[in-house]
């Protein structure tokens, strides 16, 4: 049975309206509702299902970030993960953290925890990078199955059905492997109250990038963050004649 590592990221809730900070250095996060990245919820759900099918022995949830990230870990535990690991990253290090840093951290943890399978969300809804799963696999030199809409684990072989532009692609991976979860992989369960209670007693270990030998120096500097240009309002015309007139004026016809 596989030991599964699942990465969970704390992001601004998808339903919240994003506002850019007046100094253009980023978006407003103070006092804004945060929750687990939706694709990571799908990853956690898939890992738990593997354990319920007795194909995984243990599900370990991992998060990289400041103290508030513990909420995100608790959610994963409430969904059914067995234990959590909080990699503490604060302040400037957190602001400049990129998928490359996270991949190095996850790779180190995978070795330490003797994981056989890493399931991640395909991308985070704030960065939209879609890089962590691929980079992690590369660092570990593991097989990868990205944009998974279905996975099947049999002995040490994994079949992944991937969502690609032309349709669906089926690949076979030799374990150990990294999988990134796409939207249609599953519908995450709600954390039930009995499980939320149980989660309070589950173990959460703390560590840091330094403990894992990962350098948080970044080679990327954010210059500015701005709103996209405002969409101009359209106008309503009163008749077909007016419409034709406007189209002619615009040189369209």
């Amino acid at each position: 049975m596989a030991r599964v590592l699942v990465g969970v990221k704390r992001v601004i809730d998808y339903a919240v309206k994003i506002r850019v900070k007046p100094d253009k250095t980023g978006v407003v996060t103070e006092g804004v509702k945060h929750s687990m990245n939706p694709f990571d919820e799908i990853a956690v759900e898939e890992a738990i299902r593997l354990r319920e099918k007795k194909q995984a022995s243990e599900v370990v949830a991992v998060t990289c970030g400041p103290t508030q990230n513990q909420e995100t870990l608790r959610t994963a535990l409430a969904m059914g993960a067995d234990r959590g690991i909080h990699v503490e990253v604060q302040g400037k290090d957190y602001e400049s953290m990129t998928p490359l840093h996270v991949s190095k951290i996850l790779a180190k943890l995978a070795e330490q925890e003797k994981a056989d399978l890493i399931i991640l969300g395909k991308q985070a809804i704030d960065g939209d990078c879609n890089q962590t799963a691929q980079m992690t696999a590369s660092i570990l030199d593991w097989a990868q199955g990205t944009f998974a809409s279905e996975i099947k684990l049999e002995d040490s072989k994994m079949t992944v059905i991937r969502e690609i532009d032309g349709g669906l692609e089926t690949v076979e991976l030799k374990m150990p492997a990294v999988v990134s979860a796409d939207l249609r992989l599953n519908e995450p369960r709600y954390a039930t109250l009995p499980n939320i209670m149980k989660a309070k007693k589950k173990k959460v270990a703390k560590t840091s990038p330094a403990d894992l030998g990962v350098d948080m120096k970044s080679s990327i500097e954010v210059l500015e963050v701005v709103d996209p240009p405002e969409r101009e309002a359209g106008i309503k015309v009163e008749s077909v004649e007016q419409l034709v007139g406007k189209l002619k004026d615009g040189g369209v016809i």
């Binding site: 998808y14 939706p38 109250l193 939320i196």
Partner: protein
């Protein structure tokens, strides 16, 4: 407190409407309902007919584009949301300003033309649509927000502002309207006021009678009544706006309003619980009030049938396992840590005591909305099952579910479902039955049984939906004869020609 001495059996002043039921059955679910005038026993009042001169006059007030006579364009304005009643109006007017409304109404009064004021047309008792050829006076274009005061939290706007749209503007100032209901995407604030809408958060923010600070309306004479105060406290004479609140467009048309908004909560949590018995539901309500106190913002319940309806007919799914009852307990506050701690302690308590046997907790906006949908979309799901007999009653909380059980015992052989849900925190039950298609025999087994039962426990035959067209004749089950008589006198005083929303709200004298 009802001081009625009249016994239920001696309600001789009541006359039950008997619709021509055969007509109500001749339709498949998505075609047009039969005309109200044909299906119900109601006679057209002695009003004038619209002439070309009237049309020209209206066009000179609001412009040709906003005087609509096309039969197809009028279809949606002639029919209610439930597709249960249909009028025959041939004219729809869409003014933009109070002055235009005043001029229109003055003309209608002089000519004795009947008028049906209409907001978002989301009412559930047929009060917002014409019965015959009343002119539909729509507030659709009157959607300006006049001001939002971020310090006092007062919103002043025209009557045609849609609740959800107003909330979007208010949220920019961290404010929120003091009411919330399933129809929020379509209902107009003017209509909410005219029906004294209740909704999901009455438990926390109170009734519109408390939060509406001022109303501007056009009376049936055409006169503009300016009571558009923005003051929280103003005891200078009779509080006239209270007459307009809840009078369902029969005493005038609300054209603008000032309403006290509340702080938009920084922390919202929703617990969805599985409960084994209604008495546990009531214990949980008491516990929530006691332990969650000032952060409690909504307590709703639904039964097993409701869950079946939303999961079968809509794309909803049950987040927990199956239970006879479900409760939604929502908290709203200014401090996430404080609220979560309080809620966590409460949930620990109820789970260990076994009052709730299952549940889930939503803190994310997305999950909050999906769980609220289970409760807010019951009405929508019900319409897909068959013909829906809908009752909205106020009862002492201990008798709320007994009403459902007794109705079920009586009707289970003739109805597909008999179920209940609603604002258990306010003593307001939404009792519903469905049958495959409309059946007069079924209706005769439901009415007056439901009304008599409610009357026996001194409840209200319409807690929040109002009287409209469909329930007006049952007012006597809850209100005394002297009250109804005075209502008629007020109506005569303000609307001597009876042109405003005739056939609605008040029972026939």
């Amino acid at each position: 407190m009802l001081l009625r001495k009249v016994s239920v059996l001696a309600c001789s002043h009541l006359r039950v409407i008997s619709p021509k039921w055969s007509l109500l059955n001749q339709r498949p679910s998505h075609s047009l309902p039969p005309l109200t005038a044909g299906a119900y026993n109601v006679k057209r009042g002695d009003f004038a007919q619209i002439t070309d001169n009237d049309l020209t006059h209206f066009q000179s007030i609001i412009g040709k584009d906003h005087v609509i006579t096309d039969h197809n364009d009028l279809e949606m304005y002639n029919m209610d949301w439930m597709r249960s009643v249909r009028g025959q109006s041939k004219l729809l007017l869409k003014p933009k300003t109070t002055n235009e409304v005043s001029q229109i109404v003055k003309h209608c009064n002089e000519r004795k033309l009947a008028v049906c004021p209409q907001g978002g047309n989301t009412g559930l008792v047929g009060g917002s649509v014409p019965v015959f050829d009343e002119i539909v006076l729509s507030t659709q274009r009157m959607n300006n927000i006049i001001l939002i005061d971020p310090v006092s939290g007062v919103l002043v706007c025209q009557a045609g502002c849609i609740l959800e749209a107003a909330n979007n503007q208010l949220s920019k100032h961290s404010l929120m309207a003091p009411l919330d209901l399933g129809a929020k995407g379509s209902c107009h604030l003017g209509g909410n006021i005219s029906t004294n809408a209740g909704g999901l958060r009455l438990l926390r923010y109170g009734s519109l009678r408390g939060s509406v600070l001022g109303v501007e309306a056009v009376l049936p004479s055409g006169e503009i009544l300016d009571c558009l105060s923005e003051l929280r406290k103003d005891n200078t004479g009779y509080d006239l706006k209270q007459l307009l609140i809840g009078s369902e467009g029969t005493l005038g048309i609300v054209t603008a309003l000032a309403i006290q908004c509340v702080q938009k909560p920084l922390s919202t949590n929703l617990a969805f619980l599985g409960v084994e018995s209604f008495s546990n539901v009531l214990s949980l309500l008491r516990g929530a009030r006691r332990d969650l106190g000032e952060i409690l913002s909504a307590v709703e319940f639904m039964d097993q049938d409701c869950m079946r309806l939303v999961t079968t007919h809509l794309d909803c799914s049950n987040p927990i396992s199956s239970h006879p009852f479900y409760m939604l307990i929502e908290t709203s506050g200014s401090n996430t840590g404080h609220d979560e701690e309080k809620l966590s302690a409460f949930l620990d308590k109820i789970m260990s005591s076994g009052l709730a046997v299952d549940g889930t907790l939503a803190t994310d906006v997305g999950k909050l909305q999906s769980i609220w949908a289970l409760r807010e979309r019951i009405a929508e799901a019900t319409l897909r099952e068959g013909y829906n007999y809908k009752y909205d009653v106020s009862l002492p909380t201990e008798h709320m579910y007994t009403m459902v059980e007794e109705s079920r015992k009586r009707l289970q052989d003739v109805c597909l479902s008999v179920f209940g849900y609603g604002h258990v925190g306010d003593g307001n039950l939404h009792l519903n039955m469905t049958s495959e298609k409309f059946d007069p025999k079924v209706l005769s087994m439901i009415e007056p049984f439901v009304y008599e039962w409610v009357s026996k426990y001194k409840g209200s035959v319409s807690a929040e939906h109002g009287m409209g067209f469909k329930k007006r004749q049952y007012m006597g089950f809850t209100k005394s004869k002297s009250a109804i008589t005075l209502m008629h006198r007020i109506k005569e005083l303000l609307d001597p020609n009876g042109i405003f929303n005739p056939y609605k709200t008040l029972p026939d004298p």
